[in-house]
Symmetry: C2
Subunit: 191 residues, 2 copies
């Protein structure tokens, strides 16, 4: 999506350790107009698919998932991150290793909100090593629901997440895929 790529080039900041700071529009301050265009584009790409629910993960996936959900006219469910040792109640659980924070946490979704008859679209702001997305995929599988695909705002194409998830047979649509980036040479997008 050209609008998004332009925005990444203009306002994104490449930092050492393969960090791309996009907190001025994507994951701390949220540009709702850009989210609207992103939501429309997800709908265009998955227009032929029946979708009953969007699943995302707190916190920074929630905003884009909610705006996108308006175009699909479906509810959003967000998986909660928890470090609680004893998880109570009827929930599906998974484990996610955080690239940013270097620790493992559990993610949970109530069994009330993921059903075998659901057709799920995953939405998240970032795809890097794929840990969060693979965690969400496990929740969908555990629920016996159908996974329609995943819509990602920014994919770091030079990390393994996109390949891992696509090779597992899941359709991934990323609005911008970064093939390389550095503080010196800038950001190169996949064509």
């Amino acid at each position: 999506m050209q609008l998004l790529k332009d925005r990444i080039v203009r306002d994104g900041k490449v930092r050492s350790g393969n960090v791309l700071k996009v907190d001025s529009f994507l994951n701390h301050q949220l540009d709702i107009e850009l989210f609207g265009e992103s939501g429309k584009e997800f709908k265009r790409r998955f227009a032929s698919q029946e979708i009953t629910k969007i699943l995302t993960i707190e916190a920074s996936g929630i905003g884009i998932a909610c705006i996108a959900a308006q175009y699909f006219q479906v509810p959003v469910v967000f998986a909660k991150k928890t470090q609680t040792k004893n998880i109570a109640g009827d929930v599906y659980t998974g484990k996610v290793e955080s690239f940013t924070h270097g620790r493992v946490y559990d993610i949970i979704v109530s069994k009330d909100f993921l059903k075998p008859e659901d057709r799920i679209l995953l939405i998240d702001d970032f795809l890097a090593n794929g840990a969060a997305l693979l965690g969400l995929i496990k929740l969908v599988k555990d629920a016996g629901a159908t996974l329609v695909g995943a819509g990602i705002v920014i994919e770091k194409g030079f990390q393994e997440g996109g390949r891992l998830v696509r090779e597992s047979g899941v359709r991934v649509e990323s609005l911008a895929i970064i093939d390389s980036m550095s503080e010196d040479t800038g950001i190169v997008f996949r064509e």
Copy 2:
């Protein structure tokens, strides 16, 4: 807002310890259509006010804040919860005691996204003891920004948060105020 009150009566579950479970539409599964109506109502109530930004707090405030922001045509900033001891960089910080989890955490917002010229509307899903809202109010004050008011989806009117915040001079608009609730007698709304 009648639509919301009807929904709370229909799908809300009163639990012991003054817990109102509304996770089927407000804070785990999110009813985006209801969020749209709530956003419109916030806009109607604050229509005469100039607002430059909506501030909320992760995680469950983000969805309603993003949907509401479309009607105000402003960006959303969400305060991040952190248990990191050393908070790096240029951030405004506050402390919030969680009613639900019984612990204190820090909240932070980058100084890049709260400016003295900003006119801030706070949005959150719940107002109970007021800890989160008072934490957000401190961030706005620390930034020297103008606080226009707070839009809340559900206020527990029998807890002290609403009174504390209103007595501090902040305009609070809650779409549903619960004056009492119990498993036996159900939910009573303020007129």
